[in-house]
């Protein structure tokens, strides 16, 4: 009887420790010490819309509308898992990252919608990124000329490769310099993340 009582007491203590220290426990007040950085990981990347590869300079008369320098759009969506390891809710205020096709940084996008993540739960956030041949052409030409030359290619060949192969998920798309800002009771944590899809 005495032995059973000791075992029960031990189990109770263990249970209380588990309840206080882990995600199954009661909600605690956020402090600088107990505020753990949420974890952001790329779940997947989706080619939302692909329109093939084409480019018209403004010298070309369109069937309707005004001529302009325009190229095929390519719309991607990045779906992130945002895991809150704390036993209190946290608010995500901002998430941003740079997108690189192979080794070329082409776009920086962000999500500024605030999101509450419940204690010990994982939310998902989708961030859309628009690319088009014109915008990427300018980006490559202004900053990437030397790198393209070193790579033994040219800007048009590179763009055609991306616009035809990314919809097949055969070219790696990189998420770089990612940072998400989290708040809990006035405290701030910044989580960094990087990823490649397909890996």
């Amino acid at each position: 009887m005495h032995r059973k009582s000791i075992i029960l007491k031990c189990l109770s203590v263990v249970s209380i420790v588990v309840l206080l220290g882990g995600c199954a426990g009661m909600m605690t007040k956020p402090t600088q010490k107990n505020f753990k950085a949420p974890v952001v990981t790329l779940d997947s990347m989706e080619v939302v819309h692909a329109f093939g590869y084409w480019y018209f300079s403004k010298k070309v008369e369109p069937t309707k509308g005004k001529p302009d320098n325009v190229g095929a759009p390519l719309n991607l969506a990045f779906i992130f898992n945002v895991e809150n390891p704390n036993d209190y809710p946290v608010k995500m205020e901002n998430l941003k990252f740079t997108i690189a096709f192979e080794e070329f940084d082409l776009n920086t996008v962000s999500s500024t919608e605030t999101m509450w993540i419940p204690a010990c739960k994982t939310n998902q956030v989708r961030v859309n990124a628009h690319f088009d041949v014109r915008q990427s052409l300018l980006s490559l030409l202004v900053t990437g000329g030397f790198k393209l030359k070193e790579k033994g290619t040219n800007v048009w060949a590179q763009l055609e490769k991306w616009w035809t192969e990314i919809p097949q998920y055969s070219v790696p798309v990189h998420v770089k310099g990612g940072a998400a800002v989290f708040k809990a009771d006035g405290l701030t944590k910044v989580t960094t993340f990087e990823a490649t899809f397909p890996e």
Partner: protein, 339 residues
């Protein structure tokens, strides 16, 4: 360049908010990459209006020029990173402002500094006129914005002006332009393009033995120039209205601290002066907002008249010269910092 500027904008807004915001009001930042697509810049502007944004931090010549008449009509202050001198005339573009030395003043300052400091050291000094030529993309409003002012200044100082060389903003090979200049034998070249194109021109001038000095406007003169041009960049003079990233000037400790805090995934060695110039734009705008708010008028006109136009020798820090705006002159600075 744009990426580093955008990171700096967001970090500086965090800093302003962490330090009391606009007299206790927190700033809400909406930030978009318009990818140099002007129609998208116009669309985003319409969104900002719908969201009742009190001011806009813009970017380059494209969006700034396209939106200048609209922001004037709507009376929305537009602080951009396009520093064309013609944006400084309140009669034409009253709501366009910036915290930098305008391109014309930069070019005049560069030519004058070379004339005062470098020309007297040349063997031909006193024997003939100094010779200058200009390398820029003639079809670009951005590149050619200060060429007229530069030529006027060169004429005043008695330069012989050589043939303009059209160098694309996207150039990685400028040998034909350098060969064309060899006959003129310039003592100095003025470059007004962005850094990759300037680096290509410096490299080719060095390789082909042109022997000229180089003067470079702010967008061609950043931390990437020595990386891209190597030895060819040695001795080049440039106009950098702000301090380079990490230099020991007031508030730089905060710039570095917030870069580390909010973008720890971006290595500090990749950060540049463009972050610093973004901070100057944000801190300058924040000061205007605080002054207008204190005067009880956060309307666009209030921000302009009771905010910006009350700044007299306002010290931002960050290595930028004191800023003064008046109702008749929106050139924030009349001095160019040449290094």
């Amino acid at each position: 360049m744009g990426k580093d500027y955008a990171l700096g904008i967001a970090e500086a807004i965090h800093y302003v908010n962490d330090n009391g915001g606009i007299n206790g009001k927190q700033i809400k930042l909406y930030q978009f990459d318009y990818g140099y697509r002007i129609p998208e810049a116009l669309t985003k502007y319409n969104l900002f209006k719908r969201l009742k944004c009190v001011a806009i931090l813009g970017w380059g010549t494209g969006d700034t020029e396209a939106l200048a008449p609209t922001v004037a009509r709507d009376k929305i202050p537009y602080v951009s990173a396009s520093y064309s001198g013609h944006l400084c005339k309140p009669a034409k573009t009253p709501y366009n402002l910036f915290f930098a030395t305008d391109y014309s003043t930069q070019s005049r300052g560069l030519i004058t500094a070379w004339f005062d400091k470098k020309w007297p050291q040349k063997p031909d000094y006193g024997k003939r006129k100094p010779r200058i030529a200009m390398c820029y993309m003639t079809a670009s409003a951005f590149s050619s914005a200060s060429i007229k002012a530069a030529k006027e200044q060169a004429e005043i100082l008695g330069f012989e002006i050589g043939p303009d060389q059209s160098v694309s903003l996207f150039a990685i090979d400028t040998k034909s332009q350098i060969l064309a200049l060899k006959e003129f034998k310039p003592d100095v070249l003025l470059h007004t393009n962005t850094v990759m194109s300037v680096a290509a021109t410096l490299r080719d001038a060095y390789a082909l033995g042109l022997g000229a000095d180089h003067l470079i406007k702010c967008w061609g003169y950043d931390e990437n120039l020595p990386k891209l041009a190597g030895k060819a960049a040695e001795g080049a003079m440039g106009c950098a209205p702000w301090a380079f990233f990490g230099l020991d000037v007031p508030l730089m400790d905060k710039v570095v601290e917030y870069a580390k805090k909010y973008n720890p995934g971006v290595p500090l060695e990749k950060r540049t002066i463009h972050t610093v110039q973004a901070w100057a734009s944000v801190l300058g705008l924040a000061e205007a907002l605080k002054r207008a708010d204190k005067a009880g008028d956060l309307s666009g006109e209030g921000i302009l008249r009771k905010g910006f136009e009350t700044m007299k020798d306002f010290e931002i820090g960050l290595g930028i010269a004191p800023v003064t705006y008046t109702a008749t002159d929106h050139r924030g600075q009349s001095q160019a910092k040449i290094t």
